[in-house]
């Protein structure tokens, strides 16, 4: 019985104009966005390779840079890939704020043109399509009179609603699967890139996440449809929900949080105070016996200076860390608010899986910072132990590769969003069944 209902619903939807429009629009946009993202990724990769090659030609142990490799999966979910720097300079002093490198960064005005990525197209367009398929599922049938016709037969109501759900899932899976296949084909054929097995796993998880997002919109549609009597009312309500979910909730949350900056003021003034204090103390430096030409005495002076410097850097780092933590917690709060919208949850999960989320940048900077200590110790060997210094710099020929975010780290970052989507789906499923069973057909 379910399968008869499902078949009828599916055929109905597949042959409708709205499905055709939605699928065509979705696929066209997927092609455009994938091609644009692919070209951008390729130019960034070229820049990265050139920079790395330059570095390998003339490695500088005193002042060297660590580069963050561009992510392949940023073609799917752009995330923060281009917002943050991907080169960090280590110059003996504490790590400088990371700089940018890459073809699309030079123009700060490139921010003028936000581009949409693959996940955006899928979660926005296909969710709109889901709403269009669902809005008249119950109320439209009621208006047309076919609902009481169907229910006058011995068809259990649960079969009807389950049939509608399954048919919706089938109809929405078609554009989703096609989009993913087209996206992957473009990347592999046009871009000539191949995915590792871990990347295939990530892509398939991204697919699951987008399916959950789109299905939650479909089920919201069913819920609203089985609460209203007129299809146009349910459409109105659903469109407002869609606008709220896709634009308003993230817009309001980010505008409010971003502008409301009184909680986090930069520690620049305090840092400057600490720095000037340090240089003041250094001025009262060595006595006349510590002459730079007297190497051992100079070494003793420098060693004492090293302690001062370590202390200064620790206090500066404490200030900066506190500030950074406040920024991160602000961003986390925004994320939690935005999780109200399934489309935003889908975006966060995809970014985490594509390794372009904030955590990836944090991971990079933490690793660079952890490398700073040993690097500085190596530099200090110049006046502590010349021979060992020469040994160490000889070993220092290769470029340090920052380890990319592991799969388990990505998964744990994406887990809250995946859970939120899954719970939402289950909840909406129960609600839609409940409301349909109590729907008055007369």
């Amino acid at each position: 019985m379910i399968w008869i209902v499902t078949a009828r619903e599916t055929l109905d939807n597949l042959m409708s104009l709205k499905f055709l429009f939605g699928t065509v629009l979705c696929l066209a946009l997927v092609v455009i966005s994938t091609v644009v993202s692919l070209r951008d990724y390729q130019s960034r990769m070229d820049e990265y390779n050139t920079a790395v090659a330059d570095f390998n030609e003339k490695p500088d142990s005193f002042y060297f840079k660590m580069y963050r490799k561009p992510e392949v999966l940023s073609i799917f979910a752009r995330g923060f890939e281009k917002r943050f720097g991907n080169v960090a300079g280590l110059i003996y002093m504490p790590v400088q704020a990371s700089g940018f490198m890459g073809a699309s960064e030079g123009a700060e005005f490139s921010a003028e043109f936000a581009s949409i990525d693959f996940v955006f197209v899928v979660r926005v367009i296909v969710s709109l399509l889901a709403i269009f398929l669902a809005y008249d599922a119950v109320s439209g049938e009621y208006e047309r009179g076919t609902l009481k016709l169907m229910l006058s037969r011995p068809v259990p109501r649960s079969s009807v609603i389950l049939g509608k759900l399954i048919s919706g899932a089938i109809c929405l899976l078609i554009p989703l699967i096609m989009s993913f296949i087209i996206g992957i084909l473009i990347i592999q054929l046009v871009g000539g890139l191949a995915f590792t097995s871990e990347e295939w796993l990530r892509i398939s998880l991204m697919f699951v996440v987008t399916v959950l997002c789109v299905m939650s919109f479909y089920m919201i549609g069913l819920v609203v449809s089985s609460r209203t009597r007129q299809a146009s009312t349910s459409l109105l309500i659903l469109l407002l929900i869609w606008i709220a979910g896709v634009f308003l909730i993230p817009g309001v949350a980010t505008s409010a949080m971003d502008r409301y900056r009184r909680m986090a003021s930069t520690p620049d003034k305090d840092v400057a105070a600490i720095n000037s204090d340090f240089y003041r103390r250094k001025q009262k430096g060595p006595g006349p016996e510590y002459h730079p030409n007297n190497i051992d005495a100079y070494a003793k002076y420098r060693i004492k200076w090293d302690e001062l410097e370590d202390e200064k850097d620790r206090s500066i780092w404490n200030l900066r860390k506190r500030y950074l933590d406040r920024l991160y917690s602000q961003a986390d709060l925004v994320q939690w608010i935005c999780r109200l919208s399934p489309s935003e949850s889908c975006m966060y999960a995809s970014e985490a899986l594509a390794r372009t989320y904030v955590g990836a940048y944090r991971n990079f900077m933490d690793y660079v910072r952890s490398y700073h200590g040993p690097h500085r110790e190596m530099i200090r060997l110049i006046w502590k132990d010349r021979d060992r210094y020469r040994e160490e710099t000889k070993k220092f020929k290769k470029l340090i590769e920052v380890p990319p975010v592991t799969f388990s780290a990505s998964l744990s970052a994406a887990l809250p969003d995946i859970c939120a989507l899954a719970i939402l789906n289950v909840l909406l499923f129960m609600l839609s069944v409940l409301f349909f069973i109590r729907y008055d057909v007369h």
Binding site: L25, A107, F109, I125, L128, F132, L239, R259, Y260, R262
Partner: protein
Amino acid sequence: MLWHIMKREIYDHFTSLRFAFTIGLITLLMVLNALIFVGSDYEQRLSEYSQNQAWVADQVRASCEHLNELATRGPVGFYKRPSALAFCANDQEDELPMRIRAQGGRGTYSWGGKMSYLFKTLWTLNYVRDVYQRNSMIRTFTALDWSFIIGVVMSFVAILFTFDAISGERERGTLRLTLSNPVPRGALMLGKFLGSFITIAVPLVMGMLLNLLIVNVSGVVSLGSGEWARIGLMAAVSFIYVSLFIGLGLVVSGRMARSSTSLLVLLLIWVVLVVLVPNTLGSVVSTLRRVPSQREFEEQREAATREVHDSMKDRFKYGSPTQPDPDVKAIKLWADFVTKLFDTGSRLDDEHLDSQFAQVQLARRILRSASPTTIYNYTMESLADTGFERHRQFVKAARRHRERFIDFIKATDRSDSKSFHIYYLKEGLSDKPVSSDNVPRFAEATGVSAAIRNTFTHIGVLVVLSVLLLLISYVSFLRCDVR
């Protein structure tokens, strides 16, 4: 007749669910916009701006002791004033640089045998990337400003009100009822348009007034007559933009038999024009014209300056300019070198920035012809004094000031008989003090009339489009079947 139709439409709409939603939504969004703006750091930015201006003035005054020092250190810096109407059009404002450095002064030693010369860095326009402090971990896809509320949400609401204007009546049977009376079709169309327009304009005006009330009462900004004129213009443009979408709704509604089809078509058009085109096309188009990356540009610049350095092999041919009685030829030689060195760098900087600007402008020009929403956004940006065009004008004003400053230096130098009148070298210019009042001050040209001039064509295009859509709706309705 027209009045009756209008009255009926207005009553119809005012008692509908859509209207309640619209009022609720607009009020919520406008209030949020005002609250966010009031809670933001606008005051802090404004005070930072005045502090920076004061600092610049102090620095200039300090270097007025000697003309040649003023010539070296330059105007120190140009700051962009935070716009009072930032809550109206705020996209990407935080990503644009807020100042241009124009400071020289540190020196570089140059040796040749027993002679040395410390030549000071001449000031050039340094396009730094300082932006106002922001938390970059929070991404802003859409800023909740008037451009967004009206450009995206209001256009959507316009469609919601008009999608079943004709097709709904046709389905219900009231259209043939109305037209069986001697009602001219044009009057019907116009009545519907005006009815929908008033239905949307009333909540919009209420929202705007509420928003302005909150902003005014909070005292965060002071809105002078210039600002009110701009706000009035922005309201006018918003109404034109909304009526454009009402016209579009009427056109599609008149042609379709069923209201659900017309809604589908209208939503498709809306998604493409309002959501997709402004966001996608820009990035696609900006790949058309390639701009050299930062690294390439820096390499170019280094190569060019190195070339200039290499060309000065025999720089101490006539001695050093800092000798007690310097040779004019030495001063001329060094002046040529120093001027060429910094001019090359400055010229390359300007060209690089201009190529970036050109890329953005090309994309903006294409975008303007692709969607009325982009026209609307750019108009709002110009009227609110924010955005890319404002930044470009700021850079142009800085460059104009650069010329004025150099002319001032040269003119003041001419009045000193003891100087060599050779620009630019510190020893080639006068040493006398300059009154700091005479130094030209940097001023951006921001007036309402300038804004109107810039946006005149845009507003014209929007008006033409709305009128065109109305005419099309009328003409296509004239011959359609009402049964």
